[in-house]
Symmetry: C2
Subunit: 369 residues, 2 copies
Amino acid sequence: MAAAELNLVNDTLVLPAPLPLDGGQSLERVEIAYETIGTLNADRSNAILLFHALTMDQHVVSAHPKTGKPGWWSKSVGPGKVIDTSRFYVICANVLGGCMGSTGPASPHADGKPWGMRFPVITIRDMVRAQVALLDAMGIDKVHAVIGGSMGGMQALSFAANWPERTGAALVIASTARHSAQNIAFHEVGRQAIMADPKWEGGDYYGAGKGPEDGLAVARMAAHITYLSEAGLTDKFGRRLQDRSAKTFGFDADFQVESYLRHQGLSFTDRFDANSYLYITRAMDYFDLAEEHGGRLASAFATSKARFCLISFDTDWLYPTAESRTIAHALNASGAPVSFVELSAPFGHDSFLLDVPAQDRVIAGFLNQ
Amino acid sequence: MAAAELNLVNDTLVLPAPLPLDGGQSLERVEIAYETIGTLNADRSNAILLFHALTMDQHVVSAHPKTGKPGWWSKSVGPGKVIDTSRFYVICANVLGGCMGSTGPASPHADGKPWGMRFPVITIRDMVRAQVALLDAMGIDKVHAVIGGSMGGMQALSFAANWPERTGAALVIASTARHSAQNIAFHEVGRQAIMADPKWEGGDYYGAGKGPEDGLAVARMAAHITYLSEAGLTDKFGRRLQDRSAKTFGFDADFQVESYLRHQGLSFTDRFDANSYLYITRAMDYFDLAEEHGGRLASAFATSKARFCLISFDTDWLYPTAESRTIAHALNASGAPVSFVELSAPFGHDSFLLDVPAQDRVIAGFLNQ
């Protein structure tokens, strides 16, 4: 579909005011790269703010500028699609700390050199705060809905909790209100893999060749396993060999699953910045919506007027259904209208990005209420 | 308990004949380091061959020579204990490919230099074959039982399938008859972490300083998560902070689980050889007992006369109960006597090493039949 039919815009905004951060610092001249699809209506009431996941970006429907691949949710966003851009104006911004145009550790510091590890540690709420500033700049007081899967769901929860008057609805898919010990553990493995790579150079690798690609690839491999289900891996690969009829009794990628994982690791390094991976995983690990609200999750939603919809997947072991159930209980306790459904899909956590017709029906039903 | 009371012996045998390997090569002058506890009776009928797991070794009850920690199953093996060495003569050998005295990649090649990656890729059956040669050298035709957990269970299965006349019983705990795609995937992450470390030097790092410690630590961290349950990690660590009252907004180990994992990674490098980790994980990934027997698991046990006992744990997601059930079905189909129990324990895969009284009762009951 051509950009004109989609009313597709890619742009970057420099926030007009310094952005205060949860860590106490503030950031000057923050740039937020974003994509919009559709047309904002006259009373500015048809916007949907879509939040992306850890390794995604603002390229929801547009081809990725580095990989050339279709946008990460092009199957679901567009005219006549589940998120119908003939009706809604969809906005998606690269998160603060990211590496696709928004200010992050690879961006220039005031001294002209990249921030590197001098970049402040940010939170999910900081990411959302930057996107609220984007809405301000666009003159949008209230969006029709916020939507996000995985880390996007954390942002949707944070938005609904902290800017309750600014959305009418929140759709949270395959997500959680706080990172568990196991979630933190997997991220810590990834961070240690990056930091163990001598080419990381304490984060000061920009302009110095390839950077910590080996470490970043290992981080991606470990994380990627958590995005898939055991049964899904067995269905997809089992113990099948890769382009050979027998084991080689060596350390090549004999098994298809090894070859696949290596490819996942390597291709990731072409499109992602290792320091961004450190900062964004840290923000996710720090996320605990209850903690921000006196230790009680229901308190987070006390002043919300939004409708909520929660979707989990039965094979998602990264953010299993129990995490969504915890959110649903908190919303019930706060008196918020909430629908919650666990969908059956074989793809594990990644189900939210893949072809699950039941998810389409739930999303369309929720948005069109 | 003193060594004398245990009748504890640590010794090393040089196998008198070359050891043929599944990969087609054979190894000369293989050394097998082993520990025995108890006394072999006059008719040599009271031996139990105990197989260790991936990162364990022959130090079942003796203090580990590098860490000083108690033997890995000292709680269960000894006079009057679950595996009662006043009755049984327990033998445990460091696996072929290991790094605690048995021949492995750190051992000298005929040219005097360490094998490194010239060491042949071995299989679980090769490991068992070396231990059968140890039994031969000891003059033990048949053991009372073979016992193993995790990779030890794979060896117990391989022993019972391939040397069926040489054991009266096989006890297989928290194990599997073949490595799944997910199992292979996690091991591949670990191998890539080691190989990505420039200090690995293609495996030729011996005598050249510290070797690929950073990569090995990352491998251990990733693997360690798979040994624990999500609920166990939450109970043990949750989101509790490490020796601090608030998040530091940095990349230190703010969370206890981060600190714990880093410690697990670092301490592992003091006692384990990175190349051994590569070879042993490769052997596990290659393990598929059905494949060795015409693709039908029941065929593996066709000539076995042994009694079998299988134990799984409800929180073990590395080798979940379904894997033991598959083995039980194959044993049923082959007409072998088998008891199979799933035990409830909160510790995940590591339950087999920890304090689970129900496991003690099952083991004692099985051995004393």
